[in-house]
Symmetry: C2
Subunit: 290 residues, 2 copies
């Protein structure tokens, strides 16, 4: 079932010559100045003053729209971090729906980053909410957590959308369980990789430990790898070649802070700095596929 | 930090003489007849007709309110399954906020069942959204997934709310990873149990495999156990004594379908059947603590 997603992804990657996924994890306290301007104009509108959560949600929508306009052309997809919207309550969920619409209008695929893992009716409900039609988010892809086992992944695999299973993540704590050595040999994450391959699903493999990539590719020859950890977390695009062995759609390089806060690193206006950083990442990743 | 939650829980359990948690996983297509009546009355109100999602959200709120009124007196907490609300989009999230308010008004604690597990800013955002003050849900307790390791649990542990880590779940797929035998000896879930004890957190331990309970209690002597799997999944309250070794607050028995659909099993009106089944569970669990 995953093949339908991979076909769509391969077409989009080829058309946009990009394997970059723009991470959207907006913080109302750290939006770009142009988002503040848009939201202030909105405040001047007639009617009741918005609640603090509604005002924050407006800021978040304006910020994400500006980020998509600046960096979107160098990307193939956006990855909204659902938690960053949920913390604003129902206003945040409505904001998420608008951001997803803005990304689609810009020709981008949508990966709902919600890291769900649940069972039975709950897993089915998550699948409905994230990849189901409206009022679901209708996302093209989702992240899922494997700890509950195969029966927790099946409701997502059956949707024909991209299912990215957390295999070996990019955070320091990843070692606690994922690297636990099994009695049968090999770390736990390799057992998860075998499950991903059996389900013909896709994988999240952190870019911070490139030594795992060759092994991960051997265990999951068909999977598309979502590769977080480039930039702020220390991963380098140049080290990700094994992910792209099956072709340009073999890897998706995600970046959020390194794009949204590029101006803090490199100076200049936020939008121009974001555009430049996204384009730099696009070129570096594309060089690995060519 | 978890002690503050456990103190509040111990007080509530003693006051209500109940260790039962009422699971709320509403399906708009399977609400009680009285919820349909409430929602129909609402439809007749003047103004624009509601969207399908808003109408479904009204049904869900009416159903949960009726369920809380019927079964709540025999329970100490409710556990809304966040996925079942999220699938209705922003209207669903607003419904969740109303259901949480109804539970609080009935004197019940609130456990947000969202099974989150994420890292860094995302984990902090989830913590804000679920246990933070409004627009957060301000829940008393949450479920978290350990696959990403200790650093993914810390933002929740620091909140002073109840943090229930998935340790050994009640579904068939639990065996896939959780029972994986480690090279150092013992299954993976025992390593998670050790992490839970080190963090002084709480644990989800399925009621469907009571043979694990004695071992889980030995590894996590202080933890409160959330015990899903009673009723529809085949677990029996009578087998859960090891969970209650530290006292009445040592275990929380969750039940959702076996209460909400008790009339399908035992006949009678839904509310009366739910009240009776919740009271039966309460007595059976209380007998283990006395």
């Amino acid at each position: 079932m995953s093949d339908r997603f991979r076909e769509r992804l391969a077409e989009a990657v080829a058309a946009r010559r990009s394997s970059i996924v723009l991470g959207l994890d907006p913080d109302p306290a750290r939006v770009w100045p142009e988002a503040l301007a848009v939201a202030s104009a909105h405040d001047g509108a007639p009617g009741a003053p918005p609640s603090p959560a509604a005002a924050a949600a407006e800021l978040v929508v304006a910020h994400c729209a500006a980020l998509i306009a600046a960096a979107g052309p160098a990307c193939v997809a956006v990855k909204p971090q659902v938690a960053c919207f949920e913390r604003l309550g129902s206003a945040g969920w409505a904001a998420l729906e608008r951001v997803v619409a803005a990304a689609r209008a810009a020709g981008l695929l949508v990966h709902a980053d919600a890291e769900r893992g649940d069972i039975g009716v709950s897993a089915e409900a998550y699948a409905e909410g994230l990849v189901g039609p409206a009022p679901g988010l209708d996302a093209d892809a989702v992240t899922v957590n494997p700890y509950l086992g195969e029966d927790s992944l099946e409701p997502f695999v059956g949707t024909g959308r991209g299912v990215f299973v957390l295999v070996r993540t990019s955070n320091p704590g990843a070692a606690d369980l994922q690297d636990a050595e099994l009695a049968q040999g090999g770390p736990l994450w390799e057992r998860v990789a075998a499950l991903v391959d059996r389900l013909d699903a896709n994988a999240v493999v952190g870019a911070t430990a490139p030594e795992h990539l060759v092994r991960a590719r051997a265990l999951m020859p068909r999977a598309t790898f979502l590769l977080p950890g480039v930039g702020a977390q220390g991963g380098r695009v140049e080290d990700l070649a094994p992910a792209f062995a099956p072709g340009a759609h073999g890897g998706l390089v995600t970046a959020s802070r390194s794009i949204a806060r590029a101006h803090e690193q490199h100076g200049g206006e936020p939008a121009a700095a974001a555009r430049e950083e996204a384009e730099r990442l696009r070129e570096a990743a594309w060089a690995l596929c060519a």
